[in-house]
């Protein structure tokens, strides 16, 4: 659950807060847990819902990231190259660096398996905006991955 919280947070301290708040809510609503799915999935859903609530409360954080003009990577990257050169923690920290809306859309789509119309409904945005945000989030991640791999190679 700590990984889930980290994915939805911008830093480690926020992830800790989210985990704590999430488990407090779990304690408070444990009696409502029914025989539908696993306990882990239920707790995970509570934490994701809490992350969405936090996002909705902090409306001013919904600033869109300014994509740099040269964000398109010039170097084609394969999954094998990325996974061989970067570890999971480095990738997780890149997700944390995404702007809040991009981070939420990326997490909901890639990790929770939500559809664009579901994401749009939960975040109060249009379906097109959800698709656009996901695309931009991936572009940003791709750029940051390229830069990170380039820096690592030069450092070596």
């Amino acid at each position: 659950m700590m990984v889930v919280c980290t994915r939805y947070s911008s830093d480690y301290e926020s992830a800790q807060d989210l985990l704590q708040e999430g488990f407090i809510r779990v304690f408070q609503h444990l009696h409502q847990f029914k025989n539908e799915g696993s306990l882990e999935g239920w707790i995970r859903r509570i934490i994701v819902n809490l992350a969405l609530e936090t996002y909705r409360k902090n409306v001013n954080l919904r600033n869109q990231a300014e994509l740099p003009s040269e964000y398109e990577s010039e170097h084609p990257l394969s999954a094998e190259d990325i996974l061989s050169q970067l570890n999971a923690n480095e990738l997780l920290s890149l997700v944390q660096q995404l702007p809040p809306t991009y981070r939420l859309v990326f997490n909901l789509y890639e990790f929770e398996g939500a559809k664009h119309h579901e994401i749009a409904q939960q975040l109060g945005i249009s379906e097109g905006t959800s698709k656009s945000n996901l695309h931009d989030a991936k572009k940003l991640l791709q750029k940051w991955v390229s830069k990170l791999m380039y820096d690592n190679n030069n450092h070596i």
């Binding site: 700590m2 990984v3 800790q16 704590q20 444990l30 084609p76 990738l91 572009k139």
Partner: protein
Amino acid sequence: MSEQKSNDIGKVFRSAIDGLSMTPPKAVWENLRMVALQTQLLRYQTINRWLTVYASIVTLLLGGSIVEHFSHNEVEYLIPSKTKLVYQTRVIHDTITLSKIVYKNLEKPSDILDKISKDAQETDDDTQISHVLHKSTNSLNPLAYDSTFIIKTNHTIADSAFIQPYNIEHTDVVHQATITNTIGSKPYNPFISHIPLATIPYLSFKSRNIPAEKPPKLKIPLKNRLSVSAFYAPELGDLTVYRSTPDAFNYGNEIIEKAYTWGFRASIDLSPRVSISTGIQLSTIQFAGTVRKSSIQPELVNGQLQYLYKTVFGVANIPTEEMTTTPAIGNPISVEMEDEHSVSFVNIPLSLKYNAFSLKLTKGTRNQRYMSLYGIGGINYHMPSSQIMNIEVYESDGHDYYTTLRNFSNTSPYWSYQFGIGAELELGRNSSMWIEPYYQRNINSFVRDLPLQSYLQNTGVRIGLKWHF
């Protein structure tokens, strides 16, 4: 190309991060523990608030009945009731023959004669006052006016009807011991034993000249104070589990589906109002699981890997005789809980009962029927007697089988307190039925050496039949 790369980057992140695990810092769990404790405290406060309300009601009932009891005695003893007119016969003096005694409340001492003369005349035209005991000379109790009036009727036959089978010497104080000796044959009725007029029918009046020596108490044979009951009690149970560590969340999420108790109770009257009871009871609780199917990894117990089924009322070792899977790390099995899931306790209760009121349900003197209202409270000692849990085991190779878990460890005896109120209806001379709503709660947890504590609280209604010896 760009779109393809964009889709791939999502999969790369998913595959890398999904397998990642991170341990949160200890401070988070410590904070969670503190929050959980605060939540428990709030829950305790809520429970205590309701308990206080319930206890206040019971206390008011009991306290009110005690006050009523003593004030009633005082009225009977010092100032006879205005509304009661009692006819009795006594030998007052050698010069006075068997007479009818009338007593009424005296508002003013000076009105004694007029009022009683009037009352007596209204009651029977042929009666006449033959003797009046005047104001008490008891300096300790100046308000105590002798209100005994001896009225002799003019009907010889009627007077003879009042002749008592015993002869009490002339005295202002009628000792209960004397009465007991003379009315020993009167049967003891637990419903009305605390009502003086009903218990001792020939003693309806006492002088306010309090004797120097306290009269001996009325002794009722032990056999007449003994009673036995059989009862059944459906219960609404609530299970409260306090989990002290994250590991405690592996111990199931059972909820109580059904609970009931039946048993036998023996009571002995310590006084006309107070009785003590004990007996034997069997309580059965049927559980339902909020998670019916779960995956279980083998754990090392005494040097052996075993599959353990962890519940909030104990841990059971899943038998491996029919299992094709070898208990080893990485060889999980799935276990599904079936409907049969019960735990039984044998209880030894010890209760005190206070008989608050006795109500006469029928008019007239024949076929009198009484109902008594009472409060009861005490403690119980519960010993686990049996635990049964049917499960279906699914193995990774597709093999599955049913088995019953009976040997649960970590379940321990526990104490509980209970209190309630009740009503008892007299059915016959020796039998009665009673109904008793009650509340019961654990004093200590009924599991031990586990990272959780389990408490039961029940609200039930005992319905029983009682036999008075």
